[in-house]
């Protein structure tokens, strides 16, 4: 645990006040060092993830290391473009002025990460925050103890530890952190309940927040789709990280006619992926801690659904078997909170309208999935439901492209990031206008006012809906000519 974390936070603030993080060269150097920190220690990062979550090397590398690596490279390649002033269009009123937006850092940002992808979810926003010129207080989740420790050990060896300190706090200090300290921006990844608490605490300081929360992500399977490929993709997505992923498909909505066939294919796929005893598979993860295992055990023990696969729980080894449940009533224990575990519910529906209705009765999810060949059906679902993001005919994939903003809506969160969107999220767009107007235009607005001045103002400033085309063009040319003549007249005097 970090002692004197308040001193550390003050240190970051003071560092920001010196202006050093505003220097683009400084930011570039820090990102290059961060890149080294990631690449030079790949084995150690994987080791920590294995200890925290029994995460196998493949998942650790593909889902965490590669993501972070690519984000840093993307930032380094584009930093010079991102930080440039953005020139904006001018109008008649500002024709001779300079109109642009400066991209500025907010100041000292707090980034709090979750325990399920403790490496990736911590560094991904940090990269954008550094690129945008902020100082960052980096707070990994204390539940992922080995990864948090490794951040504390390694980051100060590579990046400026005054500007980007790592703090690890216990539960009590964590709860008080936002309440008792003022930040210029807060980025939080975690559960909805804590998200609410963070926003309320931030409100006292009017600190803007981005909240990446969670939800129960629905997955619609239409009878027109190829059930085998759907089963494989969904199985892969559901059991990543032993189900502890915010964008996993949580519950299936499909017609009764295909349900059993889907469940068959799904069971077959579990066997293919993890063998007949998934506990022995090196590719299957573990739950983060006993508290979470007990939470999942309680849901399974509620008996409010028919278990057709799995259901075994071993609290000691934090193992929960890949589980599938059918005949699940909407008010059952399985359908309350986000599962965040390796359990898939399959709910039967009569038709797509019922599926849409079930989805819309619930909180807006972080992700929505639909497997179907029929484009019209897909578009109907997309336009009648809302979610943070969507993948059609697969799961999880909208998380991957840098060009797509990733974030939630409603209880699944607010704000978005990834790629340039992270840079934008951590930047204050400061509008600037360098006035170059000739004074006679400005003087129209000064008192004492007159009807004549008012008519001139209206003529210069007021837009019109019509006409378009040649008459409007001639009119605007005429106005410009008038202005030109007036300028010449004044200048000659």
């Amino acid at each position: 645990m970090t002692k004197n974390y308040i001193g550390v936070i003050n240190g970051a603030r003071e560092a920001f006040a010196t202006g050093k993080t505003k220097d683009v060269k400084f930011r570039r150097h820090q990102l290059e060092m961060l890149y080294k920190c990631v690449r030079d220690n790949e084995a150690r990062w994987c080791g920590a993830l294995k200890k925290d979550l029994n995460k196998c090397e493949t998942e650790a590398v593909t889902a965490e290391i590669i993501m972070v690596n690519n984000e840093i490279i993307n930032a380094l390649e584009n930093l010079d473009t991102w930080v440039k002033n953005e020139a904006k269009g001018r109008d008649l009123l500002n024709a001779t002025s300079s109109v642009y937006i400066r991209k500025e850092p907010f100041g000292t940002c707090l980034i709090m990460s979750a325990w399920n992808y403790p490496f990736g979810l911590m560094l991904s926003p940090v990269i954008g925050a550094i690129a945008a010129g902020n100082c960052v207080v980096i707070k990994p989740s204390e539940a992922a103890t080995h990864t948090a420790s490794l951040f504390q050990e390694l980051l100060p060896q590579y990046i400026d530890s005054t500007c980007y300190p790592v703090i690890v706090l216990d539960a009590k200090d964590s709860a008080d952190l936002v309440k008792n300290n003022r930040f210029d921006f807060i980025f939080f990844t975690g559960g909805t309940a804590i998200g609410r608490h963070v926003m309320k605490a931030a409100a006292e300081y009017l600190t803007p927040v981005v909240l990446e929360l969670g939800g129960k992500n629905p997955c619609i399977i239409d009878e027109s789709c190829d059930l085998r490929s759907a089963a494989r993709r969904i199985c892969w997505g559901r059991f990543l990280n032993a189900g502890q992923i915010c964008i996993a498909p949580e519950y299936i909505l499909c017609k009764a006619s295909i349900r059993d066939k889907f469940v068959e294919e799904f069971k077959r796929t579990v066997q293919e992926f993890f063998g007949s005893d998934p506990k022995q598979s090196p590719d299957y993860g573990r739950i983060i801690n006993e508290r979470q295992v007990n939470r999942l055990k309680k849901i399974i023990d509620s008996g409010t659904g028919k278990i057709v696969l799995g259901g075994e729980v071993d609290v000691k080894t934090k193992y929960v078997a890949p589980t599938v449940v059918v005949d699940v009533p909407l008010d059952s224990a399985y359908m309350q909170e986000e599962m965040f575990g390796p359990i898939l519910m399959v709910i039967t529906i009569k038709d797509i309208d019922e599926a849409i209705s079930i989805i819309n009765q619930r909180e807006k999810p972080l992700a929505l999935y639909i497997f179907a060949k029929d484009k019209k059906l897909v578009n109907k679902v997309l336009s009648k439901t809302s979610s943070g993001g969507v993948t059609v005919n697969d799961v999880v994939m909208h998380y991957v492209p840098h060009s797509l903003p990733f974030g939630g809506i409603g209880h699944s969160g607010m704000g978005a990031y990834h790629g340039k969107h992270t840079f934008d999220t951590f930047s204050h767009n400061r509008s600037c206008l360098i006035d170059g107007n000739p004074e006679f235009i400005n003087s129209l607005r000064y008192p004492p006012h007159s009807q004549k001045k008012l008519s001139l103002i209206k003529a210069v400033m007021m837009k019109n809906l019509k006409p378009k085309g040649i008459t409007a063009f001639i009119k605007s040319m005429f106005m410009l000519a008038l202005v030109g003549v007036a300028i010449a007249y004044i200048a000659s005097n």
Binding site: I66, S97, R102, A203, L206, L404, L433, E439, P448
Partner: protein
């Protein structure tokens, strides 16, 4: 269900019906909004005059034209704005279709301010309509005539189910804030901004807060003082100083401070005559409470520091009746008062103070009135120190001929122009005031304690946004023009894949092997 809950329930039902989704419907509503403005110009001007004694030119320039231009801009562009966008794809997405859908949030609560009552509500409404949202509008009870008028006109012209007006004071607003909205847009003071954000946090509702600040003006020694005076006096006394981006205080280079004060005095007389109370071009303070607040700032400032103005006028009768009305908190009484007494009272002459120091009471909170303190500084560095010791303002104004008016930040080479790099603010105008908020294409909003979720609005007009603000932070979020549309839109990313190419994808499935790993990497 109480009234607030019923209202929300009905508006949400209207949103769920999907009526706001087709672009044609949005364009039709925007046209109706334009009709509302065009057909009721006199009534709107009259209401503004009754609430704030706002001069006709100001009302047209800073409220009506601004909103009409926003509406026209939206009508012309909403088709483009609402189309899905197609961002670049990564190599792994080459077989996929990748796009971003523009989705409305749902029901937006608009809580507006009293200083630019028409402009704020209608500009935001333009963005709300364009983005396909529904709205519950709560105009300020401190501008009762305008609010009452809006509650009549909006249902006459716009879809009654989708856009509703809810009148009320503090108790009614408190009840309203308990309910769950999909987005809240609040314009007003930082103090109430905090209350709004806390209430929103209960439901995890995103907020856009346009608050206020003490916007500083730095005048460098090379400036054309006559020009500075003309622009600052105009910007400061617009709406009698009740503008959130009004120049709050001046930091003037020592060498020229006395000449500047002379120019300020001359300009005040030029604009408002020798007896400003008689000038038709000055608005009035909105109510007794604010009048008293400004009066107390003036009494706390020593008489020797008075350079220009200083007179106040308050009708005793108005104060007595106003107190009576406030205890009932009914709009009706306020309206009655206005009809009887008009807004000819509660005036404070344009006032300038010199030799002000950082610790003086006038430098404590946002002034939001017609008093202008002038502090003398040694140069840009001292100005930066003073500016940075305060909360980040909504706007920063710099008057300088040379673009080398930088600050001493040795890390940055070459030294950046102006004070921009060493300070932060919502926006900046150099060599003028308010104008950055006038540009259509620039985002308008605050930062830090002064702003949250900028939203941009699109104006061709000289003055814009102009919200009520009071001491505190400038807000979060930004708007104007397309930026309003963007702030009120959820960008929903979609990756649309086929069901073939399964063999390509199977590299990611367990059981994992070294081969899988190297292929994916």
């Amino acid at each position: 269900m109480n009234t607030a809950q019923q209202l929300l329930f009905n508006t949400r039902a209207a949103f769920k019906s999907g009526i706001t989704l087709p672009v044609e419907w949005r364009i039709e509503q925007l046209n109706r909004l334009l009709d509302l403005l065009n057909e009721n110009e006199n009534a709107l001007l009259d209401a503004l005059h009754k609430d704030l004694r706002k001069p006709k030119l100001e009302s047209i320039e800073t409220e009506l034209i601004v909103v009409k231009n926003e509406a026209i801009n939206a009508i012309k562009n909403v088709q483009t704005w609402s189309k899905p966008t197609y961002p670049s794809k990564a190599f792994v997405q080459m077989i996929d279709s990748v796009y971003i859908l523009k989705e409305p949030y749902g029901v937006v609560l608009v809580m507006s301010a009293w200083n630019y009552p028409i402009q704020i509500i209608f500009s935001q409404l333009v963005g709300i309509i364009a983005s396909g949202n529904c709205a519950i509008i709560k105009p300020s009870e401190l501008s009762p005539v305008t609010s009452e008028l809006m509650s009549k006109l909006i249902p006459q012209y716009l879809d009654k189910e989708c856009f509703r007006v809810y009148l009320g004071g503090i108790p009614e607003t408190t009840v309203l804030l308990k309910e769950r909205f999909d987005m809240i847009m609040y314009t007003g003071s930082s103090m109430v901004g905090k209350i709004v954000m806390k209430a929103a946090a209960e439901h995890l509702t995103p907020v856009i807060l346009e608050l206020g600040g003490k916007s500083p003006v730095y005048v460098h020694k090379d400036s054309d003082l006559k020009l500075v005076a003309k622009r600052v006096v105009w910007g400061k006394f617009l709406n009698l100083g009740q503008t959130c981006t009004a120049p709050d205080y001046i930091l003037c280079h020592n060498n020229v401070v006395d000449s500047l004060i002379d120019e300020l005095r001359k300009t005040v007389e030029e604009y408002f005559g020798s007896d400003p109370k008689e000038s038709p071009d000055l608005a009035r303070i909105v109510n007794a409470r604010n009048f008293k607040r400004i009066e107390s700032i003036m009494s706390a400032t020593p008489k020797e520091k008075l350079a220009v103005g200083g007179e106040t006028d308050e009708s005793a009768l108005y104060i007595v009746l106003n107190a009576f009305a406030e205890s009932f908190k009914y709009i009706f009484f306020d309206v009655l008062l206005y009809f009887i007494f008009g807004k000819m009272t509660l005036s404070t002459a344009p006032t300038v103070y010199k030799d002000i120091q950082l610790g003086d009471p006038i430098m404590e909170g946002e002034i939001f009135g017609p008093i202008l303190p002038v502090l003398a500084v040694n140069g840009a560095d001292e100005a930066v120190e003073i500016i940075n010791s305060q909360e980040k303002p909504l706007a920063l104004y710099i008057f300088a001929k040379s673009d080398k008016v930088g600050c001493n930040v040795s890390y940055l080479k070459p030294p950046p122009p102006f004070l921009l790099s060493c300070t932060s603010s919502g926006g900046v105008t150099v060599n003028d005031v308010l104008m950055h908020a006038a540009s259509h294409n620039l985002p308008f909003g605050g930062v830090g304690n002064y702003g949250f979720i900028l939203f941009f609005y699109h104006y061709l007009d000289i003055i814009q946004h102009l919200d009520s603000c009071s001491p505190g932070n400038s807000g979060m979020g930004r708007y104007h023009g397309k930026y309003t549309f963007d702030a009120l839109t959820h960008e929903k990313p979609v990756v649309y894949r086929g069901q073939n190419f399964e063999s390509l994808l199977s590299a990611r499935y367990p059981p994992y092997s070294e081969k899988n790993l190297s292929m994916v990497s």
